[in-house]
Amino acid sequence: MTTTHPAPASPGPNPGPNASTPSTPPSPAAAPPARYRVTPTRVLRSEWHKLRSLRSSWITVVSAIVMVLGVGLIMGGTYTSGGGDSDVDTVVLTLYGSMLGQLCLVVLGILMTAGEYATGMIRSSLTAVPARLPVLWAKAAVFATTVFTVMFATALVTFAAAQAFLHDTDQAASLTDPGILGALAGNATALTLMGLLALGLGALLRSVPGAIGAFIGGVMILPEILGMLPYEAVERAIRYFPTQAAGALGSATPIPGTISPGPALLALSLWAGTTLAAAALTLDRRDV
């Protein structure tokens, strides 16, 4: 059969083959398979599937692990007692690589939300889940669970590996020492919350470069610039900014000029929560 020039034997579509089927059964909508339904758990499962079926997810997470572990080993291997770093907190010293790891996780968070707008995937996602908000919550939950689990494990391994070098220095410490385990968990929590902030920014701005720029400019650089201002109040306020709060969460001993871990956790949670709430509000209202 030709496709470009139909033979005159098929004279137009009317009456067409269907016009003669008034006995057509009523729309199948009458009986959709009852077991097919959108539920929050299923949306979670979908988001988990999306995360692990992309190469970029693996690259960003593995990079974050390598950064933290690699820098930790270098710090441990090159440390000498009585050097310039003697007054640095052991956990902070061991997990210096978190700053680099954080960038990878920020990119992952932004890719999970803004990346869907860049590729058009968001139209598929929101057609499947037109209630929209479950998609954002599922993304945040999948991201938080994955990043916390992976980064807490990485922190534990990095700490143990670094201690292999540090055990005979003044930075010798054990997991059971006061504050150590809490600081390792705090470090992973901080990375998770910073990542959630980035994920929210990505959903809000709907652009990967835009969100990365906003994160670097607004979250990482802005507090540094504000810190130069000669006002006591500004300096005090900056302690509650994301990077400063994150730093306070990941130290076994109090760092001078920072808030204590409790308020730091609250502050960082508020930053991430507010960004996600703003993202939810726009997701609900704006056209896709």
Binding site: M1, T3, T4, H5, P6, P8, S10, P11, G12, P13, N14, P15, G16, P17, N18, A19, T21, T24, P25, P26, S27, P28, A29, P32, P33, R35, Y36, R37, V38, T39, R42, V43, R45, S46, E47, H49, K50, S53, L54, R55, S56, G115, E116, T119, G120, M121, I122, R123, S124, S125, L126, T127, A128, V129, P130, A131, R285, D287, V288
Partner: protein
């Protein structure tokens, strides 16, 4: 069954879709036609809840799309723009969508086979051709075995085999009692698949009709005559239902005129001309093709067009049967 009530969409002061009212019924293929930029895609996005209408509302099977507990079983949609992450394989893309509804892996494999993507299912979408991308979109649309299928320009980028596949698919979906809404800017394509037509231009409803009715309303057949004696010929062709329209002079030096005559056939005009010794330079039966009917209908509403109306296509259209 899809219903639109006064559907209106305004973007930054520009009205893209205005007061659309239509019903798409199950069991037939409904063509959604309009020139590029007429508002077809916007309308479809509003049907799926991706864009919120400025005014009006639309329902699918009696409810707004978003109100269905299992939307993918109600409407399967292929949108014009690609809606797939290029880094994911076809299988994982479909599986991620299937998970939201608890649709099993078996069904995902079924639609992959149905769309002819079996060999490419585990390749990343990045390397897909336009046609394979469309096939993936169709597979996604059929995932939930939906009662209604909405396809935006499904034949775009498909090879002849793919085009034929879509036509057959649409017809069989409709024969199964489903509601099928297919948009296109190509009347000829719609004529082959659609039973019913919804035509829009500049966001307004221009026609909600059948293919045959559209041709009838476009004026049916006419005869093109080129003669140096237009007045003489017209004088002898008066009669009920006969119209003679001067359509201008051809670009030659000879003082001739081009006429468009409706209501009588070429043989009759030839006899009249011979009887009255009127010289004819050309006597050509013209059939209104669906394409022409569509252009006549939408020419007021296209955004960009050449200043002069393009001449009607010379050859007989494949739809002459329907026009006669």
């Amino acid at each position: 069954m899809i219903k639109a009530h006064g559907l209106t969409k305004r973007y930054a002061g520009r009205t893209v879709v205005q007061d659309l009212d239509f019903t798409v019924r199950p069991g037939t293929v409904t063509g959604f036609l309009g020139p590029n930029g007429a508002g077809k895609s916007t309308t479809m996005r509003m049907l799926l809840g991706l864009d919120a209408p400025t005014r009006g509302r639309s329902t699918v099977h009696g409810r707004s799309y978003a109100a269905h507990p299992a939307p993918l079983t109600q409407v399967g949609a292929l949108l014009e723009a690609r809606s797939v992450h290029p880094g994911r394989s076809a299988f994982h893309h479909l599986m991620a969508l299937a998970h939201t509804h608890g649709i099993p892996r078996r069904r995902v494999e079924e639609v992959i086979d149905l769309a002819g993507l079996t060999a490419a299912a585990h390749r990343r979408v990045k390397g897909f051709s336009l046609g394979m991308g469309q096939r993936l979109g169709i597979a996604a649309a059929l995932l939930g075995d939906p009662a209604t299928v909405i396809l935006d320009e499904p034949v775009n980028g498909l090879d002849p085999e793919g085009v034929l596949w879509i036509r057959t698919l649409l017809t069989s979906l409709a024969a199964e009692g489903r509601t099928v809404l297919v948009s296109s800017h190509l009347m000829s394509e719609m004529a082959l698949t659609a039973d019913h037509l919804i035509v829009i231009g500049r966001g307004r409803l221009l026609a909600d009709t059948t293919v045959a009715e559209l041709i009838r309303s476009a004026g049916g057949a006419s005869v093109k005559v080129v003669t140096p004696q237009p007045d003489g010929l017209s004088a002898h062709l008066t009669g009920p239902g006969v119209t003679v329209t001067a359509t201008g002079a051809p670009a030659t030096d000879a003082p001739v005129h081009e006429l468009r005559i409706r209501g009588v056939d070429a043989a009759y005009i030839g006899r009249v001309a011979a009887t009255h010794a009127i010289t004819l330079h050309e006597l050509t039966p013209q059939t209104v093709s669906l394409e022409q009917a569509f252009m006549d209908l939408t020419q007021e509403s296209v955004d960009h067009r050449p200043q002069q109306k393009p001449p009607p296509p010379p050859g007989p259209s494949p739809l002459t049967g329907a026009a006669a």
